[in-house]
């Protein structure tokens, strides 16, 4: 190990520093480094500046304009503007059930569980260039998180979160750090965009991955029933095009399902019931946001709490979406007749 350290040093002629403060890394430190990261990863290099340059650099750093920290305004209910954009939530896909609504229509439902979703950080234009909220959900033990991450939660005074995500917002939707985004943030009957990572399929062949038809099962085909067949031409172009559909890794891709109907909101149990299917297996995290491609007039009718729901959760009852028309009701002349007024000359 000592020889390796000397080799590294001679290779780049630059001192290395591992977890300890000394410049030259010893074999024991390399061992410890290897054991912690469980991979052969070179320790981070530290370059020492010459003294005259360093003094200049420190002067410039001191003179540079400091970005002031952002203090969010006090949390009160605000009226939602047409261009406002609220924060989303991180939920766990619990599973699927079905139900029948008051008209007898069968609805497949996905159960989403919002597990202690809280705002972890705020991103603002002066420092980051845009407005966003960092949100965390779930729970992990401190020992299973890296020290830098657990230090962040200890500094903020928040429980250790399992999953983090960022949601772009408008300026008036800013929430202070530690605010809970519960199921009551969403309203039954609204449309949501649900993002998840699809189910992992592994290395898959061309028929499953791209929907190729394969080759005939008989008529002389030998050992190539599920193969792609030809993948190119001849001398021209003389190569296989980039992006050619071939076997490979399938699944575990980030996908969004747009305009899902939120059928039921059970805020006391922090459950959301979304109609239909969403990407990913049960037990994985999904990210829920208000639907973007919805006319603003329709969005205003939902009555979304802005910037979030501020109130008691335990008193809330489950709210359902009521479909406006019964699809099984037969045509009735007195209710479904639209009188046409004929103009003169028709």
């Amino acid at each position: 190990m000592r020889t390796i350290a000397r080799l590294l040093q001679s290779f780049n002629n630059v001192p290395y520093r591992a977890t300890s403060s000394c410049e030259i890394v010893t074999g024991r430190e390399l061992d410890a480094h290897f054991r912690f990261y469980n991979t052969w990863k070179y320790p981070k290099r530290v370059f020492k500046l010459p003294a005259n340059i360093k003094s200049l650099v420190m002067k410039k750093v001191a003179e540079a304009p400091k970005i002031p920290p952002f203090h969010p305004p006090p949390l009160i209910s605000l009226p939602m503007q047409p261009n406002s954009r609220r924060v989303g939530a991180i939920a766990v896909k619990a599973g699927m059930t079905q139900t029948w609504d008051e008209n007898g229509v069968k609805l497949p439902l996905t159960v989403l569980f919002i597990d202690d979703c809280q705002v972890i950080g705020i991103k603002y234009p002066e420092k980051h260039g845009y407005w966003a909220l960092q949100v965390g959900a779930g729970y992990r033990k401190q020992k299973s998180i890296s020290p830098s991450e657990s230090g962040l939660y200890l500094k903020l005074g928040l429980p250790f979160k399992h999953d983090l995500s960022e949601f772009r917002i408008s300026q008036d939707a800013v929430l202070p750090v530690g605010t809970k985004v519960s199921a009551a943030h969403f309203v039954a009957g609204q449309n949501v965009d649900v993002t998840g990572y699809t189910k992992y399929k592994g290395f898959q062949g061309v028929m499953k991955r791209w929907g190729f038809k394969g080759l005939p099962a008989s008529h002389g085909v030998s050992l190539a029933h599920r193969s792609p067949g030809s993948i190119g031409n001849r001398k021209s172009p003389g190569k296989v095009w980039k992006g050619k559909k071939l076997p490979g890794h399938m699944g575990d891709e980030r996908r969004t399902v747009h305009n899902c109907l939120l059928y039921k909101v059970d805020a006391a149990r922090n459950l959301l019931f979304v109609r239909g299917q969403i990407p990913g297996p049960a037990g994985e995290f999904v990210y829920i946001r208000d639907a973007i491609s919805v006319p603003k007039t329709k969005k205003a009718t939902w009555g979304l709490p802005f910037p979030t729901y501020l109130g008691e959760l335990s008193n809330l009852h489950a709210t359902l979406y009521k479909s406006p028309k019964d699809p099984y009701r037969p045509y009735a002349e007195e209710a479904d007749y639209f009188p046409i007024k004929w103009k003169k000359g028709d």
């Binding site: 766990v92 007898g104 159960v111 429980p159 009735a332």
Partner: protein, 157 residues
Amino acid sequence: MMQARVQANSGLLPLVQDIQKDYMKKGLEKISIGDTVKIGLAVVEAKGKTRTQSLDGTIIARQGAGLNQTVTFRRIFQGIGMELTLPVHAPVVQSIEVLKHCRIRRSKLYYLRDRVGKSAKLKEIVGAAAAKRAANATKTTKAQAKTAAAEPAVAAQ
């Protein structure tokens, strides 16, 4: 600041099963394959009123479990055999009344589709076997007794 998991004391699958219990009908009579039943279906009329239409027939198959259970119901209407696959917990199925139990040796009675008339008749369970079955039906299992004991306690709360 150590905080325990706030909401989930159980896993996700028990949670979904617990939710499904809310959507299931309570107090359903036990239906076996081969039973002759009278099903009350909800039918929507022109004015928007709902009335119940009763149909007699046999249960020839059962599929699924819990909330997803469906039964295939067969009847002969004006000389034509008709089958209806109905989810047991759907609101369209307003009542299922068992008229008689029959002796069967399979779980799916699809052979009845090829039979007409007397050969399609199923043998009814009578006598001592019927009495034993009736006694078994009234006897509650351990799990049912537990939930029955828990319900008044919950209602009292």
